[in-house]
């Protein structure tokens, strides 16, 4: 069993390094990720945000504009996930306490 686990890890590491060989150089400002147009000739998301963030929302920080305005649905989902996580914590640990019935807050 232990040998299989080590094998899984080595294969995973090798696969990841093989995949990383195809990535563009780190810090390359003209890689596909940072181009003006994407491969399908539509405006690239990151370049679009950099060009229009200040104009659209009168806010200097582009990360804030993307987080709250362009990708508002995304952030709404994330916040719901956080809220659900807190609720799950609450319910999991509260149930144990009620069963014992020792003390309340």
């Amino acid at each position: 069993m232990k040998v299989v686990n080590y094998l899984i890890m080595i294969v995973f590491c090798a696969l990841m390094i093989y995949a990383s060989l195809g990535l563009p150089n780190r810090g390359d400002a003209y890689a596909d990720l940072n181009k003006e147009k994407s491969l399908s000739q539509t405006p690239n998301a990151a370049s679009y945000y950099i060009h229009n963030a200040k104009k659209d929302a009168k806010t200097e920080n582009m990360v804030t504009v993307i987080l709250a305005d362009y990708r508002g649905y995304d952030t709404l989902g994330e916040e719901t996930v956080i809220f659900t996580a807190g609720l799950v914590c609450f319910l999991l640990l509260r149930k144990e306490k009620k069963k014992n019935g020792k003390k309340k807050r």
């Binding site: 929302a57 804030t64 809220f83 914590c89």
Partner: protein
């Protein structure tokens, strides 16, 4: 978790430092438009200020500052602020979460800026309340056997 005994240095330093952490957290939230920052970071720092008091002074005293039973309603209030901002935009004829339709300022860009501030505040309240609530719940769950 029980405190072994009172350590004056720990309690004094944490009581002194905690308000400044809160002040800096508010700065991070409200200055998120112009510098690195925003609701998530500021909310986490607010939660850190509350948790510092909880760690150093114990659960009973820190209840005076932030009661554990407030955490879940505050978290849902944060999520509701977010939803409500989107809903107000919907009521004024735009899409959901399209702040350009909320009539609070003249220019559309200005409206978007204020809308972003509203939901950052909602995110900060929700994150703060939920992290404090998770801390409280873990403490109660682990101390109860």
């Amino acid at each position: 978790m029980e405190r072994k005994k009172d350590n004056p240095i720990v309690s004094l330093v944490s009581r002194t430092v905690s308000p400044f952490i809160m002040l800096f957290a508010l700065y991070v939230i409200f200055h998120g438009h112009y510098s690195p920052g925003g609701g998530f970071q500021g909310g986490t720092m607010l939660a850190a200020a509350f948790i510092l008091i909880r760690l150093s002074l114990g659960m009973e005293i820190s209840q005076l500052q932030f009661k554990s039973r407030w955490a879940t309603p505050l978290g849902s209030a944060g999520v509701l602020i977010y939803f409500g901002t989107g809903l107000v935009a919907l009521l004024f004829g735009g899409n959901f979460l399209d702040y350009g339709f909320i009539p609070i300022a003249e220019a559309v860009a200005e409206r978007r800026s204020i809308g972003i501030l509203c939901i950052e505040i909602g995110v900060a309240i929700a994150v703060m309340a939920i992290i404090v609530s998770i801390y409280d719940d873990l403490l109660e769950g682990s101390s109860d056997d």
